[in-house]
C-alpha cells in the first residue's frame, strides 16, 4: 500500500518517474491536473470563493496537520497573504531521509499553486533556498507590490532575517509575480 506517513517521499519519486516517462510537460500537467484540479480542489474552491480569507483557512489547517511543530508563519493584510517556511515539513522530510529522485522538489509548490492562484486572480512572489526554507507572498494580479522589504509583512518571522538564509542570490530560486513553475528567475 502507498501510505501517507511517507507521502513526500513517494510524491517526490513520482516527479522523477513522470519526467523520465513523459518529460517536463507531463510533470507540469501532473501538478496542475492531478494536484491543483483534483487532489487539492478543496483549496482551489476556498481560494476562488473567498480570496485571502480562504488562503488562511486552507493553509492554516493544512500546515498545522503537516507541521505541528509550527515550522512556518502565516501573515496577512487586506492586500497580501504571506507564508514564511522556517522548516518546511515536506522538503524537510526529504532532507532528513536523504531522498532525491527529481531535480528540484520545491518546484512542485509553484507547479500547483501557481495555476490555482491564476485561476483565482492572484500572482505569487516567492524565493526558496532548497534547504526547507522559503517565503511566499500572494497578491491580486492587479497589485503593484511584490517582494516586500524584509520584515515589512512578517515582522521578525520573516525567513530572510534568519542567519542561514543565503546572502548569495545565486543560491535562491526566485519568482516575481508568477503563476508558472517555469517562470523561475535564478
Amino acid at each position: 500500500m502507498i501510505g501517507c506517513y511517507d507521502f513526500c517521499g513517494h510524491y517526490e519519486w513520482t516527479f522523477g518517474w513522470m519526467e523520465r516517462t513523459g518529460g517536463h510537460p507531463l510533470v507540469r500537467d501532473y501538478w496542475n491536473e492531478a494536484i491543483n484540479h483534483d487532489s487539492q480542489r478543496h483549496a482551489r474552491d476556498l481560494i476562488r470563493n473567498e480570496g485571502i480569507p480562504g488562503m488562511l483557512k486552507y493553509w492554516g489547517h493544512t500546515l498545522l496537520e503537516e507541521s505541528p511543530d509550527l515550522g512556518f508563519n502565516i501573515s496577512h493584510r487586506d492586500d497580501v497573504f504571506r507564508i514564511d517556511f522556517h522548516d518546511c515539513p515536506s522538503r524537510g522530510f526529504l532532507l532528513k531521509n536523504g531522498l532525491k529522485n527529481y531535480r528540484d522538489y520545491c518546484d512542485h509548490c509553484m507547479g500547483w499553486t501557481g495555476p490555482m492562484m491564476a485561476e483565482a486572480g492572484y500572482v505569487i512572489d516567492h524565493e526558496h533556498s532548497h534547504q526547507g526554507q522559503c517565503w511566499w507572498e500572494v497578491r491580486a494580479a492587479s497589485a503593484t507590490g511584490g517582494h516586500s522589504p524584509v520584515g515589512s509583512v512578517a515582522g521578525d518571522k520573516d525567513i530572510r532575517l534568519r542567519p542561514e538564509w543565503p546572502k548569495d542570490p545565486a543560491k535562491l530560486d526566485r519568482y516575481n509575480k508568477a503563476n508558472d513553475p517555469d517562470q523561475k528567475l535564478k
Binding site: 500500500m1 501510505g3 501517507c4 506517513y5 511517507d6 492531478a34 483534483d38
Partner: protein, 170 residues
C-alpha cells in the same frame, strides 16, 4: 518521534502519524496516470516504485524474512491514520488483515471519486516489492477491507486471481 534505529520503517518523520489528506493526492495521481498512460503505464509506475523507492524495505524483508516483514507492516499501519489492521504471523506466511483501510475510509469521508482500480495498486506494488525480496504476494478483498498474504516464493501460493480484488467504490 521515532529514531531511525528504533523503527523498521525506512523513512522517518517528526509526526507519529501521516496526514490523511495525502490520500487525496495518491488517488488523484492514479487517476492522472491511468488517464494519460493507460492501465499498462499505471502498472509500470507501481512496479517501478516498488522496486525503486521501496528498495530499502525490500532489502530489509530479504534480510529479516517473514518476522521482519510482519514488524514492518505493524509499524507501517500504526503510522497510517485510522487504520484497523491485524498482522498475523503463520508458519509459512504473513497475513496482513485489513479491517478498515485508512485510504478508502478517508477518500469516502472526503467525498472523493475513488478510482475503481485503487485496490489493485496494493497488488501490483506489493507484488513487485515481494518479488524483489524473494517473496510472493497475493491480495484478496478490497473496497475497504482485504487480506494481503506474503510468503516465500517456495511456498507456492496459487497465482493471483484479479477477480479476487474488488473494485473500489466512492
Amino acid at each position: 518521534m521515532k529514531s531511525p534505529s528504533a523503527s523498521v520503517l525506512p523513512y522517518v518523520d517528526t509526526k507519529p502519524v501521516g496526514s490523511a489528506d495525502f490520500y487525496f493526492a495518491v488517488n488523484a495521481t492514479f487517476r492522472f496516470i491511468l488517464g494519460r498512460l493507460g492501465r499498462e503505464g499505471w502498472i509500470r509506475y507501481l512496479e517501478e516504485m516498488g522496486r525503486g523507492y521501496f528498495d530499502p524495505v525490500n532489502r530489509q524483508w530479504s534480510r529479516d524474512g517473514l518476522a521482519g516483514l510482519a514488524r514492518y507492516w505493524r509499524e507501517f499501519f500504526q503510522a497510517e491514520p485510522n487504520a484497523v489492521v491485524n498482522v498475523v504471523e503463520l508458519p509459512d506466511r504473513v497475513e496482513v488483515r485489513v479491517s478498515e483501510c485508512p485510504a478508502i475510509k478517508h477518500l469516502r469521508a472526503g467525498q472523493r471519486e475513488i478510482v475503481r482500480e485503487y485496490c489493485q495498486h496494493c497488488f501490483y506494488l506489493g507484488s513487485a516489492r515481494a518479488e524483489a525480496a524473494g517473496l510472493t504476494m497475493r491480495l484478496a478483498g478490497g473496497n475497504g477491507s482485504c487480506c494481503h498474504t506474503f510468503a516465500p516464493a517456495a511456498t507456492g501460493l496459487a497465482p493471483q486471481d484479479l477477480q479476487q480484488i474488488r473494485e473500489a467504490t466512492s
